[in-house]
Amino acid sequence: MGAGHAHKLYRHARSPVHELPPHCKLAAVFCFVLVVVATPREAVWAFGLYALLLAAVAGAARVPYGFLLRRLLIEVPFVAFALLMPFVVPGEKVGVLGLSLSEPGLWGAWNILAKGTLGVAASVLLAATTELRALLLGLERLRMPPLLVQIASFMIRYGDVVTDEMRRMRIARESRGFTARGVRHWGVLAKSAGALFIRSYERGERVHLAMVSRGYTGVMPVIDDVTATRAQWTHAAALPLAALAVCLTGWTLT
């Protein structure tokens, strides 16, 4: 595959992880996150092991750790929520650095931070090693309804086109000396949004004409078919299976 399909998170490289079929990776990541979510929060060491597992995958995928860590910032709003917990959750108080914090609150914060971070890291790894197009094929292979896959692929194809139109409209506004500074200017922005909707909808109609002209009858023709060998499934399953082992150990020990 060429250099196409770079989305923000994708990092082009050749690695065993990049070469796994997309539906295997999607299934593996989903099962992994599910296992993580089902792990008892008291098994602190288990989350450490999960992090090591992900680090190993990142290493195999040649995804730099700095890149991975930067992408984790997306969770920040929920970190704030988690940090509030020790203060608002009722329960036994413990003194930490002179603050009186609730113990269940601390556990709750830990639970959300650990599981949320591992979830984001796993998703980032998936996105970093899988091209957009492949992700869609993978979702289709995993029995996502074809209409939904089509909608998603149109959204991705035209996301940039629509965003570009929005940018041009902003430039047009600003060239006429308008900058939105407060609530008073919402009307103008909303008019732009309305115009953007009309343009998008009309483009949708034209795209439909172009599709019909080339023989579209409501079903996307099969052009690429992704398949996975047993060996590839086994490789992809390594991550969730290892995690499952950790999780089960966690449940028996706590």
Binding site: L9, A38, V88, V89, G108, L189, S200, Y201, Y216, G218
Partner: protein, 347 residues
């Protein structure tokens, strides 16, 4: 409001996933019916539009800005079915491509941000559009109210899910108050922008606004002497719309009841409930009676977490069963109505 992994426990995540999947399945059929083979390109472009509009920042004051969530806007512009699909696809792509919102929380995110906002907004919108005079300004006003309510409704839905499967025992009263409080504020912004945007579209291409389709002037026939005879158009109001409106209203009422119930209960009372690990729930009369979640901890099961989870699964399962039941009944009635339709036409 993109919920990450680990916020909601695994059983409830899976159950909401099932709820979201069935809602999306219903909408896929609905969208096919509304848009036939144009469904894919049109819904795709509208999803791209919602995606872009979420990036459009609206300055609030002194450097802060907010952005549109888009559920109400999508519902009013393209109809409830296509609206749900568009927002769901946006959420799915945000989760898979940008790690925004956890994969296991996808069901939660789709349920509250795509399904609840869209359905509640559309139901309110239809109701108001019916009640208000048939004017363009009514469309704008209805859009305002619909968007205003849809955001706290989503927050309420989230609180409900959190009550069933939240991983931390934050008192639900506090969660409800905080979530709904904050989202009422967000809802005001959402409402203003949605109303203005819908107003802008109605002014230029009223035919594109799904929710304003009833506004077109009826055909009229002019007689030679100048008298005007309005053409009798068969009142074939699309039944699915009524169904959606009904479901949405019930949903909105249930949420409202739930939220107000918890928000008005004193947090201290609830703290006690949470703290007493379910054994004392029976004695806390006011917290246990009349609540839709009265049994959110199953009796006779010692372990609080387990019982909570179990109750969650049972509760969601029951909701699913009821929901499916409603759809089956509606489907059957529609089938009967359809088979009866040709007869009534020939009469």
């Amino acid at each position: 409001m993109h919920v990450p992994d680990g916020f909601i426990n695994a059983p409830v995540s899976l159950a909401t996933g099932a709820v979201a999947a069935s809602a999306v399945a219903v909408c896929l059929r609905g969208a096919r019916r509304e848009l036939d083979e144009r469904a894919a390109p049109l819904a795709g472009l509208v999803a791209a539009f919602i995606f872009a509009v979420q990036m459009l920042n609206f300055p609030v004051a002194a450097g802060t800005s907010g952005h549109l969530l888009g559920g109400a806007l999508a519902a009013i512009l393209v109809g409830p079915y296509t609206g749900v699909l568009c927002i769901s696809v946006v959420l799915l792509m945000q989760g898979v491509l940008f790690a925004d919102g956890g994969l296991t929380a996808l069901g939660v995110n789709i349920t509250d941000m795509a399904v609840v906002t869209t359905v509640v907004a559309y139901a309110l919108f239809r109701l108001l559009a019916k009640a208000l005079p048939r004017r363009r300004s009514s469309v704008t006003a209805a859009a305002f109210v619909a968007a205003l309510v849809s955001v706290p409704a989503a927050a309420g839905a989230f609180t409900l899910i959190y009550a069933l499967g939240g991983t931390t025992d934050v008192p639900i009263g506090k969660v409800a108050t905080a979530m709904v409080g904050v989202h009422v504020l967000i809802g005001v912004g959402e409402a203003v922008i949605t109303a203005l945007t819908v107003g802008a579209v109605v002014a230029v291409r009223p035919d594109l606004v799904y929710g304003a389709r009833g506004l077109a002037k009826p055909l009229e026939i002019r007689r030679a002497d100048g008298t005007v005879v309005p053409v009798e158009v068969s009142k074939a109001a699309p039944r699915p719309v009524r169904k959606i409106a009904g479901v949405g209203l019930v949903l909105a009422l249930a949420l409202a009841g739930f939220v107000s119930y918890y928000a008005s209960t004193s947090p201290d009372g609830l703290e006690k409930v949470a703290h007493d690990k379910g054994i004392d729930t029976r004695t806390e009369q006011h917290a246990a009676k009349d609540s839709p979640l009265a049994d959110y901890q199953v009796k006779d099961v010692g372990d609080a977490r387990l019982s909570g989870g179990l109750a969650g699964v049972i509760g969601v399962g029951a909701t699913l069963a009821v929901g499916t039941g409603v759809f089956v009944v509606v489907r059957r009635r529609r089938n009967r109505a359809e088979s009866a339709a040709p007869v009534s036409e020939t009469v």
